[in-house]
Symmetry: D2
Subunit: 299 residues, 4 copies
């Protein structure tokens, strides 16, 4: 059983800490909200006066906070910060979703103090936090990920070793960028569907068999752009044409599609720069080129 300092007892942190207690670990907890602390104390945790107090004698210090500035304060405050009391064998695990460059700065600063730090942000919802079935994206050295493994498994059902320090928070960023933007794009499609007086369940049924719903990462890309094959299974020119029809319909029906129109201009740009007869998956190479990436293979 480990001694764990848990700092940050919000909607996610509180059930995560509860699961650690349930699994038999000793917890010292801290939060600026004292009633959140009280609830954990009722479940067997002890209350810390401040982060430094929590971190004293801890094997692990877990932070679950809303942003990087708060993580920084909790760790480095001249009086009450974790670094004032933490032992040489302890490991700090930041499970917050923060800016990856802030996470890098924190890690670097802790390294200069010989303090171990890893990032391990979580996926899924507060329901999963309660059930202990979070997805945990572990970013650290092999030793750190191994050392943290059993602790993390108290809170989540799936631990992904993302391949090194800072990689956990980076994967989280990509995943959230994709899923959050996809949510908005999906809403545009569903609204256009409604404007066309087409039952959404019919559209869903069809899309579930196509990249519209299955995505491109495992369907269209692997055998084309990711292999360097840009010969057209579906031409960029035709994809551009189809988007044009969709935008025309949407504009006639008064459905503003801000993502859809941004998309159309991407295909237009790809055509202008010579990719009209390439496979639609070549859009990846186009975006890479426009990001200044000169070599043309991704995998």
């Amino acid at each position: 059983m480990a001694n764990i300092a848990f700092i940050g007892l919000g909607q996610m942190g509180a059930p995560m800490a509860t699961n650690l207690l349930t699994k038999g670990h000793r917890l010292k907890v801290y939060d600026i909200n004292s009633s959140a602390v009280d609830k954990l104390v009722e479940k067997g945790a002890s209350a810390a006066k401040n982060p430094a107090d929590a971190a004293k004698d801890a094997d692990f210090v877990i932070t679950m906070l809303p942003n990087g500035k708060l993580v920084e304060n909790v760790l480095f405050d001249a009086d009450t910060g974790v670094v004032n009391s933490i032992g040489t064998n302890a490991l700090i695990i930041d499970m917050s979703t923060i800016h990856p460059f802030e996470s890098d700065q924190i890690r670097t600063r802790l390294q200069s103090l010989n303090i171990e730090f890893m990032d391990a942000p979580v996926g899924r919802t507060s329901d999963n936090a309660i059930a202990g079935t979070l997805l945990i994206l572990a970013g650290g050295t092999s030793q750190q990920v191994e050392k943290a493994h059993d602790i993390l498994l108290c809170m989540g059902s799936e631990i992904v070793n993302t391949g090194g320090p800072g990689k956990g928070i980076r994967v989280k960023l990509i995943n959230n960028f994709m899923s959050i933007s996809l949510n908005a794009l999906s809403a545009e499609a569903a609204t256009l569907c409604e404007a066309l007086e087409l039952p959404f369940d019919v559209a869903m049924q069809v899309m579930q068999g196509t990249p519209a719903s299955k995505g491109h990462f495992t369907t269209t890309w692997p055998n084309k752009v990711l292999k360097g094959d840009l010969s057209p299974a579906f031409m960029i020119d035709l994809a551009h044409k189809d988007l044009g029809i969709a935008l025309d319909v949407a504009n006639q029906l008064h459905v503003p599609l801000s993502m859809g129109s941004a998309s159309r201009e991407i295909y237009s740009q790809a055509r202008a720069m010579g990719r009209g007869k390439q496979d639609w998956t070549a859009i990846l190479e186009h975006i890479r080129f426009c990001s200044g990436m000169k070599n043309n293979s991704l995998s």
Copy 2:
């Protein structure tokens, strides 16, 4: 065995016609490209002088053409159009991907001539056209869909009855809008991943377990927005924050994200209009509101 007129022998039409021949139907074919006609004739089709000639005595007239203007010409040309010769019991099946409002106009015009017409655009690729495993989105009356069923099954492995005349072409539009735009969004995410020096396979592995790859239609939406429950599993305010981090990282790393930035402004607008504390799936209700849809349930 049916008499079929097949008009339009391009990358998709030629293998579709071939499959009809293989299954034993009698084909009269037409295309402006005579060498495309010759290839079908070698396989047993007879060559028509023009669309009217092809349609004579046909049970079914199938069109597979690049745009609605061509479909219109093929059907209605004063001298050579299908309507000059088509019999009263024949059914025209337009399998082209055209503008849905053009398809509506064609259907209406044919109705006034007592000619039967249905839309049945196809999904999947030219490989599927060759293999006879297309997805076919049948839009017509029940009787039309039933009548066409066996013919369509010669070309595709999955026939979806989309629920009425014009619905096939509408589903196609939604599906293509979604999959084509998603391709561009995916390319932005993958490029950001590369700029972060994060192995793409790690990101893919993670995303395959989340809405980033599985989509929202069957994951986050059904129990939230589609049921009218907007209580937050993941708040719009937090989704907006995460997109902000992604855009900041991308702009520091010189990765332009035109779809991602459009997405961020959608969330910003949703917050400004009072949805910050709602579940992120409420973006659907937001887009619907901004499209002038006043009632607040989709399903």
Copy 3:
């Protein structure tokens, strides 16, 4: 005094026709709205049964219609179209704002019939139509523009010879694209101003002395990008940074800036493609490059 057929008596067309009458010309007018016709008849025009009737014996046929499809019908209808009756010395002047490629098709079709046609769309508002102070963008051969000049001057106070057939409608397109989009961009800026609790008149006062209000065509561009000088007076990197601050402020204050965010990604792309240290006017070269224009001078 000329014989003029005037077809299209809407919000703009009616006062334009009235001004022609006032200046002493003989008008035969046509509109599907008979009460619009009646008003002109009260002012001295004669009513035509249809466009062909209006065009009979006319020196000039002026069309002022909502879209290109209507212009086409009015001119080419097999029974009632202008081409059925127009004389060999007449000149058709289309003053409508239509799609330039439709205008080109109409001109080409008329040329094959040896009928003279020019485009002369108008600028300014319905107030100017009433006052006879429209801006008229004359697109035609030198002879056509000269021939039409006195007629056009009855309706407008400024006639610009745009340099050839089809150029009038093209200038109109560029002008409207720019002014309509600028209106939306200005609204984003003004709303951000309000969100910052900054009096708009102070912002306006400042902007009136800068390219923000004066535009770039005659301020920053002539001595930099239009001369091929991309050495930085204001670097793209800094412009990108400033847009980033504006977007951050806007997102904190809940002001969605969809044009502003599109703009930021353009600068981001320009940086990624190597222009960060160039003058901000190099954005023109960047957009040109991304449109497939290979040579690097505009003027």
Copy 4:
């Protein structure tokens, strides 16, 4: 003659400091780049060891730095910051372009130390910095602006009193947002012009007489939306139609218009939300509504 500490001797700061010297003021200067310091010393300034040293006995402390983080460090560093040595009657003038909320924080923090601070960012170019003809946007109390006036006039030819503390940096933000975004929009218009093979000088000549070049702030807005009159001089429906034509042309000609397409969707949204028959200047009210601003007058 005043004692002035000048911190930040870059492309703008160096000539501004030079002009202060030329006008007879005593300068102590600081920059991390010692050769920049040397050049000012040659012109008569004295070199300071650090910001605190520069600020000792100064009447004015002027900062001209690349970002807010640097301004903060220069002012507040525990050892070398300006606040360690500054006298009670001195006034700090930050002329940098930084994030307005950072500027607010700095001002608040200095107020708690009873130190006077104002923002006075500059407009125009490095050529104007050399000539002493900058535009200076003075944000401070009346007393501060008055006190700083003669000093600022050594560097600029136009001092605008923006109406209070923090207003200078806010005006700068709005101005730059507008001019930088307008530059990109102008580039889209000019590129579309080129793709249409329309001489740019013809388009410029026309646009110089319209809101396309003159802007909307002083042309279309004052008598319409700013007065609360939304009756249509030019309807949003028509503006939307014209943008649709422009986008169709651009997409046919392979000119990607990311700002133009964002603009079109704004008009589409305004139509969907009931503004189609209003004047195009009502786009301002639309953007305000979508930013959560409920009252409907701006001025």
